[in-house]
Symmetry: C2
Subunit: 738 residues, 2 copies
């Protein structure tokens, strides 16, 4: 029985977690409203106790016929928006039978019913917002059998098959499906740079121009390939153009309501010029990000260099950790603050659709992440390496601060600029940190930490509860009232309700930033792709674990792309062509960099960067053109389908060959080719035209006179042949004359 309970979700479609507010009366009113709203749209409800102050409302479709109607309507809408090629013609019941719903589709439909606005026929329940701020979460239940299967299967495989990706899409929707597909493509593509990088590391060492060229080329091909892959997936998953179906944003505040001159409907309106003005605030925001984060990172960087390479005073072994501590504390704080700022700005920009809002937000998040991720290594590459011997002496300013602690004068001696040499391994060590250490730390924080925290919290609660029970059982356990046969099921649901939401955006961001390291800096250490290759195998399994165990089951969402991250990839690949060329030049020109800028010829540096960039752009154009011209089975299939639909429509309307059948008039035996010629042989051109002229006397307009000269096509033919006869054509005509 226990195993069976684990396997079944008791037909529950969705669970709504309702948190009672401090004001009981208000809580009761809203709860009543919730149940009514759900019932009104055709959902059956069951209520159970959640935790101390929450209720769990279980929801399923009341009537499968009504639900079929909803699905049918949504499919019609898809067809109207061009997502589906073929118009669903059968009745609602048939449409479901002909094309059964996947889990993800079913949950998406139910979720849409719950969340879409009342004007559009939904319940309009918006968790944690407005009227529904007590609704804590709306989520479907995990399919634990499938989850277990995934975890075991995926960890046995090196590559996921397209069917595995379909399975992911069928279970958690296209949006997460796209993330898996991207990660999978990225991972498979990485075989090549990993193998090549390893060979380079063995044969050519760091900063090899050959590696830089191959790496740049790989970045271009990968990005362009993925763009194409997105399109093919969109066809495979039937989500092409899905972004055209725009969901209104609930937070959108219209400036005024205008009456549309075409539809005559009232439409919320917000002038785009005003929005554009607000968007201009992004420029100061970006500047703020650069200044705030940049200042902290630069300062810490300077302190670190000072302590590790200049300072030789007391507490050196302790002080070395100072910048790291400052960074670890300051960066997340500042970047959280900036993200909140960005969020408020994005809200202020007041987008009408969720998609444009997300896009605007992601572009801001990208800027923040770009600065936090790459500033340190950019400083090493383009400030420390070329200018260290000039700048380091200025770090003396920190020396003054530590003066009181100095044990002797010698410790405070600033290094002689001439004798100072840069640490040639600094850049490589930094890259190794980003390629290996940071990835491991990140994985631990992202995947292992939550498990430990959750387990810990659970244990703590259990201990607390058992202690409370022992002390006199004032608060009986919530589960004590559960019907025994539901006990196990409800415990599971309560656990799932307590889990955090899964955020696919942050996983995508992580991959995007990793791609950036690869594109921008991997020439520093060619083993980078090897490390990422291994990491990404683990990453996919870790994300699966996160998705299935550590988070609530996400609401399935459709998508036809990884969204704005694609633009980030394009941008990073481009930027890589600049940084790689600069790094290769700086570390290959002469004896390698020594911190003295006069060793670097600025014109040569600029020329290499300039050439590299333009070669990159030309190659990108070529790759893009080549890929766009390649045909694929999916694209061909889609084209044929579209053609068939159009053709069928024209045929149904009896219009496929509208002209022909109507014009072969019965009294003109056109197809009996020359048989009629003889019967007309007696008609000469002169007699025909005489006829016509006689007729034309009765006609009034010059046009009808003109058109009545030759009244049938046979007459035209005769007259034409007569004219030809009069012509002098080449040799033949010559002969006739003689």
């Amino acid at each position: 029985m226990a195993a069976k309970v684990l396997q079944t979700n008791l037909e529950v479609d969705y669970v709504i977690s309702y948190r009672l507010p401090a004001d009981k009366e208000q809580g009761i009113q809203q709860f009543k409203k919730l149940i009514r709203a759900l019932t009104e749209i055709g959902l059956t409800t069951e209520v159970r106790r959640g935790d101390e102050t929450s209720l769990l409302v279980f929801v399923k479709a009341a009537d499968e016929n009504v639900f079929a109607q909803v699905v049918y309507r949504s499919r019609i809408k898809d067809w109207l928006y061009g997502v589906r090629q073929i118009q669903p013609t059968s009745s609602p019941a048939e449409t479901l039978a002909a094309e059964p719903l996947t889990d993800a589709e079913r949950y998406r439909q139910i979720h849409h019913m719950i969340s879409c606005p009342t004007e559009e026929g939904g319940a309009g329940i918006t968790p944690k917002y407005g009227d529904w701020k007590n609704v804590e979460a709306i989520f479907p239940l995990h399919d634990h059998v499938k989850n277990k299967k995934w975890l075991t299967e995926f960890s046995r495989k090196t590559f996921l098959s397209p069917e595995d990706l379909d399975e992911v899409r069928n279970t958690v929707g296209e949006k997460i499906g796209y993330y898996y597909a991207f990660l999978q493509s990225y991972f498979s593509f990485m075989i090549f740079p990993a193998a090549f990088g390893f060979s380079c590391w063995v044969l050519l060492g760091n900063f090899s121009p050959v590696y830089a060229i191959v790496n740049g080329l790989w970045c271009v091909v990968f990005v362009e390939y993925w763009k194409r892959q997105e399109q093919e997936l969109a066809i495979r998953w039937n989500v092409k153009n899905v972004s055209a179906i725009e969901d209104k944003r609930k937070e959108f505040v219209p400036e005024k309501t205008i009456t549309d001159p075409v539809t005559g409907e009232k439409v919320s309106f917000f002038p785009s010029k005003k929005r554009l003005q607000r968007q201009l605030l992004q420029i100061p925001l970006a500047a703020l990000c650069v200044v705030a984060l940049g200042a902290v990172i630069c300062t810490c960087y300077a302190i670190e260099i000072f302590i590790s390479e200049v300072y030789s005073g007391p507490f050196k072994s302790v002080l070395v950790f100072l910048p790291t501590i400052i960074l670890t504390l300051a960066i997340p704080t500042i970047s959280n603050f900036l993200t909140q700022f960005a969020e408020r700005l994005t809200n202020f920009e007041n987008y009408e659709t969720q998609e444009s809002h997300d896009k605007a937000m992601i572009s801001k998040v990208f800027v923040i992440n770009f600065i936090t991720s790459y500033t340190a290594i950019l400083l090493t590459s383009f400030v420390y390496v070329p200018f260290a011997s000039i700048l380091v002496p200025y770090l003396d300013i920190f020396g003054l601060t530590v003066k009181p602690f100095a044990e002797n004068e010698k410790q405070l001696q600033t290094p002689d600029p001439a004798s100072f040499t840069i640490n040639p391994n600094r850049l490589r060590n930094q890259m190794i940190y980003f390629a290996v250490t940071a990835q491991i730390v990140n994985f631990a924080l992202e995947t292992l930490m939550p498990v430990i925290t959750q387990k810990g919290t659970k244990k703590f609660k259990e201990i607390q509860e058992s202690r409370a029970e022992k002390q006199g059982g004032v608060a009986p356990s919530i589960s004590s009232n559960d019907p025994p046969e539901e006990k196990e099921f409800l415990t599971r649901v309560r656990e799932e309700a307590a889990l955090p939401e899964y955020d696919v955006t942050s996983d995508l961001r992580e991959m995007c930033m990793q791609f950036g390291y690869l594109s921008l800096f991997s020439v520093i250490w060619p083993l980078t792709p090897v490390s990422y290759f291994i990491n990404n195998w683990v990453e996919l399994r870790g994300d699966t674990f996160k998705l299935t165990v550590e988070c609530r089951r996400p609401n399935p969402a459709r998508a036809d792309s990884i969204g704005p991250w694609l633009d980030s990839l394009v941008f990073l690949a481009w930027l890589g062509s600049l940084t790689s060329a600069a790094l290769v030049y700086m570390f290959n020109g002469g004896d390698g960099p020594d911190g003295k800028p006069h060793a670097i010829k600025l014109w040569a540096l600029l020329l290499s960067v300039f050439l590299s960039e333009h070669i990159f752009l030309v190659v990108r154009l070529l790759v893009r053109t080549a890929i766009s011209k390649l045909d694929s089975a999916a694209l061909r299939k889609e084209r044929s389908e579209r053609l068939m639909v159009r053709k069928k429509y024209l045929e149904d309307a009896g219009l496929a060959h509208a002209i022909k059948p109507l014009t072969t008039a019965p009294n003109s035996p056109l197809l009996s080719n020359d048989s009629g010629d003889n019967s007309f042989a007696s008609i000469t051109r002169q007699s025909l035209e005489d006829d016509a002229r006689r007729d034309s006397l009765r006609d009034t307009t010059p046009a009808s006179k003109f058109w009545n000269r030759q009244r049938t096509w046979r007459e035209t033919e005769q007259v034409g042949l007569g004219m030809i006869d009069l012509m002098e054509l080449g040799g033949k005509a010559e002969k006739k004359k003689q």
Copy 2:
């Protein structure tokens, strides 16, 4: 009567000019076939004599009802391809009455009937190709009244109004309409750089960085604005997505015929990989263009410099013209040869649709034109100006050739490299040539020459004829057999048939190349935009003259863009950011260029170019984003229309609010909000669940047990309220406890 004849085309829709071949029998057969083919598709024919060896077949729709059917079918097709938003529901006759055809549309439909393949219901007549190689031309007749009106009206106006553009579109179709709209936008936009350029010329002189920045910005804004303008015009003219309706290319040679797995039809197939391989031949072609044209231009350029600046021997005054003569003879020959080569390559690439063929051809034409147009001035800017003093002594090689003609030794003395100074005005003079002289010469060649030639040929023929008549009248004039009332009309048609075709591509190319001079080099001479502003006013009138008087009336074609030229504009604007920065730096750094390269700091040149380019790209991104976010009335209207169509469909299907009406079941009076609460007050949670438990004993599955605990929404509500009552919520709960 005469005036009336000029005004009417006697209801003639199209004229087909049929040239008899030397082989009379074959000519007769094909003529018969032609008349039959035309009749079969529902056209009435009349035949008249053309010139010595040609016939003119006049064509009009036989039956307006049949023609309405054709139009209706084409509109349905438009709707299926998304060109029209609204499905034409009425019958063919009504569709024409509801939305009458413009001249251009009528002619386009007739032309489509004549030219589209027989499988698709047309006559499949392809002039000068395959079976129809004797058909010389298919063309509609000019509307001379309208033409005259245009010529007078346009020459009185400075700017064309949107209505004028609509008129152009209604008469000669969207493709030419787009050219007019582009020229008009370009002309209006040019006011600003013309005014600004003039001020710069007065105040700042040549090579002003301020002018370069403003000019670059203007180029970006103009190109991005035009992109948007194209979209708005597409909405205004109902041609959005029209490029999706692909006309098959008659020359397409399929590799094999495959059966489509989806539609089950036989489809011509040509593998795109094979085409891609063929397209790679473009690279050697481009190299050939660069070498062939580049070599000739460079040689002539070197000779010119040698003669004008080094040589002082005999015949100097004559020899100065030598390079110009070589160029004038060689360039058109070579570029014609290359264009033919490009045409053959494009044919070899074997495109399926006319559009992709044209696109591929235009990109090749652009390369050839780019080299012929800009090589000379690029040489002056980036070879002569910086390196003259190094390179000019090598021109001595030409000196050896002219040695035999030398009168004394002094004439052959090569200049001392140290004493040689470059001609500082050369670049400016060259720019003035391209901005003024070349434009005038071009206008004369393009617009005035044909008139003179045509008039001359006519006169010559007349003289010849009259002489022949005097000598004995062996060949009676062709027009002598014309019916007297048609005489004037037929003379006019014969004249029109003899005119060349109007080629809008070459006019667009011309404008595109002009934009290139403006973007790339106008910083050399800031009066350039003033000159182009004046030129373009004349250009538009000249083109109208060409279109209406010097050419046959073109077959109307639809388009939703100026096509690949747009990409050329984008590219030229980008390139301008590079050349302008380089020119500004070279002529402003120190004393200006003196032909000695050491005066130029390479790093500074590269840095200025690099910065300029990247600022350009960022600005372009901003302008693009800003323009894309601005809303316009046309776009709003289109959106509303689309929305209305979709809404209407859903409403018609009774699906607009599918959920609600179905779920407010009659026996649950949901909307009478709290009225029912009291009647249920007696039901306690315990009693309810007891009921359920009793029921559930009979149930078999755990799921139905679960869902039957609370059988109606009221029970759920009651149970939930009971649970809430048990909760300890904030302050209130505390009070209860006490």
